[in-house]
């Protein structure tokens, strides 16, 4: 490909995206939600949840987390079935009800691709979520292996088995000592 045109620059989502992106509260039909799985969806049903923090550890309430994942069979379904979108609440909290993805069969551990948008972020950030109960697959994962040891933990969602199912905790720190690993990809 000959690169002849320049990429259109990114800009922040600003504070007022909710009525367009997560408009249920405004009586409008959302294009995507944070509930990716129905009762019929095959696989282990899980919740992924966390809080998005700024550099002083304050929760961010005007943030959107988007995810893209394979199904339990490791395949990406056609359409938008593997896509989720959740705005954080006043406590900076987000969650997705989904299924645990299978591996792609390419040597990578099961994971979920994550994009973070917020007021105050002029460009979005990419990260990815791995699962704490996939220790062997994580140890062999080439992306996790490329991350310095002391930062790898920011990409591992910690599993807790609670009444109702498995919950994986994945806090996102935009900045600071615990800054989440973000990727250039």
């Amino acid at each position: 490909m000959t690169q002849t045109l320049k990429q259109t620059p990114s800009q922040t989502v600003g504070p007022y995206f909710a009525y367009a992106w997560t408009p249920e509260l405004y009586g409008r039909r959302p294009l995507a939600t944070n509930r990716l799985a129905t009762h019929e969806t095959p696989g282990e049903h899980i919740r992924v949840e966390g809080v998005v923090y700024d550099g002083e550890g304050a929760p961010i309430r005007d943030c959107v987390v988007e995810i893209w994942q394979a199904g339990a069979d490791g395949k990406h379904a056609p359409g938008a079935a593997g896509f989720g979108r959740c705005g954080t609440n006043d406590a900076g909290y987000y969650f997705f009800d989904t299924v645990k993805p299978g591996g792609h069969g390419d040597g990578q551990a099961p994971h979920i691709a994550v994009t973070v948008f917020a007021r105050g972020m002029l460009s979005h950030a990419f990260t990815r979520l791995h699962f704490s109960d996939e220790a062997a697959a994580n140890a062999a994962d080439p992306v996790l292996s490329s991350v310095p040891d002391d930062r790898r933990g920011t990409l591992i969602a910690q599993r807790a088995d609670v009444p109702g199912g498995a919950v994986y905790r994945f806090d996102i720190h935009l900045q600071g000592d615990q800054e989440t690993v973000f990727f250039d990809c």
Partner: protein, 240 residues
């Protein structure tokens, strides 16, 4: 067929950081505590980011692209009716067909429907301010809307955002995702706006739409053109 497969497997070119704003842009104060500071880690593009959600034509209806109609309660929205149209292209100039655009904006008075917006300007009962559209086979999109007003914000003394429309695009993969803002030509607030000026010099001008008399519809609405360029795939080995 072989070349088609190779094309689909080719990596996307990198995010061009000469075009995009850095995370930290101190004049836009909210970036100070919300900017990642550690270096981004390079990641090989695997299946989960080379693919992405595909939204079909069933995800939008006809009114979604006409913001002068999709919020009507008891009359027409107030303000200057405009047409905003353009093409979504990749870096090699190829159209990005059948991809979703979402837009949102303030009304003609500079007030958003969002419940947090407390700006002392009237809401318009007939204007919601959000729309969706899917590009056609040539990557073309078209919205009818109301020209948004400028509005004050708390970044610094007497800070005003230039009139703008927020755009969100998906493109063919998770990597081509783009959220941006479209501005209007000649806006005197542009040189003063730290969000617009967070974009590197020489790139930010791409965010300004062009007035077009050809898009303008007689006795109806002024027309603006705004093309959007997403990341494209890198060159593949010579095709047979």
């Amino acid at each position: 067929m072989d070349s088609v497969v190779r094309e689909a497997e080719a990596d996307f070119g990198p995010r061009d950081w000469a075009q995009h704003p850095p995370y930290l842009s101190p004049l836009y104060k909210s970036t100070v505590l919300r900017s990642p500071r550690k270096p981004l880690i390079p990641m090989k593009q695997c299946l989960s980011v080379r693919t992405g959600p595909v939204f079909g034509h069933d995800s939008v209806d006809a009114l979604d692209s006409d913001l002068t109609k999709n919020g009507r309660v008891n009359g027409e929205p107030v303000g200057e009716r405009i047409i905003v149209t353009g093409r979504v292209l990749d870096e090699s100039g190829r159209p990005v067909p059948h991809t979703l655009l979402e837009i949102w904006q303030a009304n003609a008075c500079g007030r958003y429907v969002h419940r947090w917006d407390q700006h002392d300007a009237p809401l318009d009962p007939n204007f919601f301010g959000a729309g969706r559209c899917i590009t056609d086979a040539e990557g073309r999109y078209r919205f009818t809307t109301i020209k948004p007003g400028a509005y004050p914000w708390g970044n610094h003394h007497n800070a005003w955002r230039p009139a703008h429309i927020h755009f969100s695009l998906f493109g063919p993969s998770f990597l081509t995702r783009l959220v941006t803002q479209m501005y209007f030509p000649g806006d005197p607030l542009l040189p003063l706006d730290p969000i617009y000026n967070g974009v590197p010099e020489g790139a930010r001008e791409l965010l300004i739409s062009r007035f077009s008399i050809d898009v303008t519809e007689p006795v109806w609405a002024l027309g603006y053109e705004f093309d959007i360029v997403l990341r494209g795939r890198l060159a593949t080995p010579m095709e047979r």
